[in-house]
Amino acid sequence: MYTGKVEGTVVATVKSPGLEGIPLLVVRVIENGKEKGRIIAADSTRQAGTGDFVYLIGSREAGRMFRKPLVPADAAIVGFIDDYNEEL
C-alpha cells in the first residue's frame, strides 16, 4: 500500500468493459512525505475528490477491490487518510 493525493480526473469513454462505472482519478504519489509523479488510479471508494489524501493498493490486487471479474487496474484508491504521524 502507498499514499497519494488526488489531483484530478480522467475521462475515457472507450475502455475495457471491466472499467465501466469506475472513477479514474489523477493521483500524485507521495512516498515518505516526498511528492513523486502522477499516476491514474481507479477509485474503489467512489467518493475521493481533488485534494483528498488517500492510500492506494497496487498491482493485481487493485482490480480485486471491485469484486467483479476482469478489472484491468493496477492502482486503486482504497481509503482516506485523516492524519498520520511519523516516528523518524
Binding site: 480522467v10 475521462v11 475515457a12 475495457s16 509523479g37 502522477r38 493485481r60
Partner: protein, 102 residues
C-alpha cells in the same frame, strides 16, 4: 495506471502461440506533469482499438491480463482505455478533441 501515446505498430508472425490474434502497438509513456512523451518505448497489447497518435491508458503486470482478450496469455502490458480528457490542477491538461497538450 499510466498514459502513453501510441507511436507505432509491431508485426510479429513468429511468436508465442497465445499471442496470435492480439494487436501489438508501440507506445511511449507521457509524463502527466509536463504532458510530454518521456521514457522508453514499450510494446503493449491493444484491447480497445487504439490508433496511432492517440493518447491511451495502459496497465501493467498481471492486471494487464484482466481483459477478455489477454486473459490467460503471456502479456504484462495492455492498453485498456483511450483518453478523452484529463483535468488536473484545476485545468484541462489534455483534451483529445482539442489535441491540446499533444
Amino acid at each position: 495506471m499510466q498514459i502513453c501515446r501510441v507511436v507505432g505498430t509491431v508485426v510479429s508472425t513468429t511468436k508465442a502461440e497465445k499471442l496470435s490474434g492480439l494487436k501489438l502497438l508501440l507506445v511511449r509513456p507521457i509524463d502527466m506533469d509536463t504532458m510530454e512523451e518521456k521514457g522508453p518505448l514499450t510494446v503493449s497489447i491493444d484491447t480497445v482499438g487504439a490508433g496511432e497518435g492517440e493518447v491511451v491508458m495502459i496497465v501493467g503486470g498481471s492486471s494487464s491480463r484482466q481483459t477478455a482478450a489477454t486473459d490467460g496469455t503471456p502479456v504484462d502490458n495492455a492498453i485498456v482505455a483511450i483518453i478523452d480528457h484529463i483535468d488536473a490542477g484545476h485545468k484541462r491538461i489534455y483534451d483529445k478533441a482539442a489535441r491540446s497538450g499533444s
